[in-house]
């Protein structure tokens, strides 16, 4: 499995660290909304198909990336720097 880092180019997956579901919306640190915190910690879409994910190129430039990966085929559909906070749109 290759992930194309926007800085480094295509690299083997062993250079990357998975940092979790990219669909989560972290509540403000001062938020008292327990439902929002519960959703942030536990709720996952767990799709069979395209999935928004956060990865870090930990064995390379160390940038955090937004990656869309197909959970069935492991095809990497898109990669972008996570900086800026824009969600990567999945294809479906």
């Amino acid at each position: 499995m290759l992930i194309t880092c926007p800085y480094c180019g295509p690299r083997d997956v062993i250079e990357f660290t998975y940092q979790g579901d990219g669909n989560r919306e972290r509540p403000q640190p001062a938020s008292q909304d327990l439902d929002a915190w519960n959703a942030y910690v536990y709720d996952r879409l767990n799709p069979a198909g395209d999935h928004n994910e956060i990865w870090q190129h930990s064995g390379g430039c160390r940038a955090h990336l937004r990656v869309v990966r197909n959970t069935i085929t492991h095809e990497i559909l898109s990669t972008a720097f996570a900086r800026g906070g824009h969600k990567t749109e999945s294809r479906s």
């Binding site: 800085y7 480094c8 690299r11 083997d12 064995g59 390379g60 430039c61 160390r62 940038a63 900086r83």
Partner: protein, 200 residues
């Protein structure tokens, strides 16, 4: 305050650094390995939006004209520099004391400078089989069109981080953690045995 002369730096490779020809060299030496021992290794980082400013400052202080692109770099004589991450650069000088030359030039609003001169070990591999030997360690494309002259790469071998700059058509400079340098050096020597290597 007067500058105190730094104590002479010891090489971490010393116990396993054996100048001469080794391995399968009867039919010729196909790679030359050496420790570069630069006096200065710096890491410079720009805050988002300040990258061009930092490249300009590096140019003014060192004379290195870094290209503005991912992994772009230059290697010329005593000094070398390359991008290794977004907004981050490694700058190397044969002489000690380059960090002082940046003092005042990189303001807190632009970015940061970290002196890694004692924290990294620089190893050079050169020769017709340099790409071949490097490919045993690192899962990146070492062919000249994919890895042009002067360019830098951040990657790792067995989970240990390394920075690599192409300093010649068949020559690479590898920057590894000082504490892992001897281990990497021994592995590099083993990997070079089959092609015949010379330690300079």
């Amino acid at each position: 305050m007067a500058e105190q002369p730094l104590p002479e730096r010891q090489s971490p490779l010393e116990p396993d650094y054996h100048p001469g020809s080794h391995g399968n060299f009867e039919h010729g030496v196909d790679v030359i390995l050496s420790e570069m021992r630069p006096g200065t290794i710096l890491q410079l980082a720009a805050w988002p939006g300040e990258e061009k400013q930092l490249i300009e400052i590096i140019g003014k202080v060192t004379g290195l004209a870094l290209p503005d692109g991912a992994g772009g770099g230059v290697s010329s004589g005593a000094r070398a520099g390359f991008g290794f991450a977004p907004g981050k650069f490694t700058v190397v000088d044969e002489a000690e004391g380059l960090a002082a030359a940046f003092a005042g030039a990189i303001t807190p609003a632009i970015g940061t400078l970290t002196d890694l001169s004692h924290g990294r070990t620089a190893i050079r591999i050169a020769g017709p089989k340099a790409e071949w030997v490097m490919a045993k360690f690192f899962a990146i494309d070492f062919a000249l069109p994919a890895f042009p002259l002067g360019a830098g790469r951040s990657t790792n071998h067995h989970d240990i981080f390394a920075q690599i700059q192409r300093s010649g058509p068949d020559q690479f400079d590898i920057y590894v953690f000082r504490s892992f340098a001897r281990s990497f050096w021994k592995a590099l020597c083993h990997a070079s045995e089959e092609v015949g290597y010379e330690v300079q």
